[in-house]
Point group: C2
Chain length 124, copies 2
């Protein structure tokens, strides 16, 4: 069992059980970097605090850190850390007004993804 990433691993004794299936999958799967980005997107949404932030921002135009902190019952620091992650992933944007920073959703896709996920949870 080679560990080199470029080697073909002989996973099972019957090396490739279903050649046609493996061929089809290899030809039609997006490249690794795209799949990694996709996994990263879901990873960011896969956290209770960040999910609550996104759903809160879905209800209103914008919220400041203190609003989110109040609604989620978490410290402003914890909220700020998570907002930073959402910012870096371009899922939220912000504007500054004096001392207060207002955050809002950055992307229409976010709502779509949440909606489909919601259907899976409630219907399925």
């Amino acid at each position: 069992m080679k560990k080199d990433k470029n080697e073909i691993i002989e996973v099972c004794q019957t090396i490739e059980i279903h050649k046609d299936i493996i061929k089809k999958v290899r030809e039609n799967t997006p490249d690794e970097s795209t799949l990694n980005k996709l996994a990263d997107l879901f990873k960011i949404m896969g956290d209770n605090t960040r999910m609550k932030i996104l759903y809160a921002l879905l209800q209103v135009d914008e919220m400041c850190v203190c609003d989110l902190s109040t609604v989620l019952k978490k410290t402003p620091s914890a909220i700020s850390h998570q907002l930073r992650i959402l910012r870096q992933a371009d899922l939220v944007k912000y504007r500054k007004e004096g001392k207060v920073v207002y955050y809002s959703l950055n992307d229409e896709h976010v709502k779509e993804i949440l909606d489909v996920g919601f259907s899976h949870i409630t219907e399925g």
Copy 2:
């Protein structure tokens, strides 16, 4: 700053900066358990290996552990561990034929979620 979950935390000195916004969000956000389930769903999709498994199963009807192991260049054990997580989340189903276990996607929603996420990555 109380830690009791039922207490209202006084996060900032100006306790609730925007009462109307906070009220609206509180009234329209799904309950905690639903949001947790939603975060769990995305958490499961937010892993490189599991994402590759899902995308592979999206291309063909079904694949056995050995097929997945070959395509993803991971040990059957690693694949099996991840399939177990996908099974428990009802994202995949399986059927057994002799020694071989065939896995397939369990839900139409999975494809939808992946598609919307894909749009976000590629278009945005």
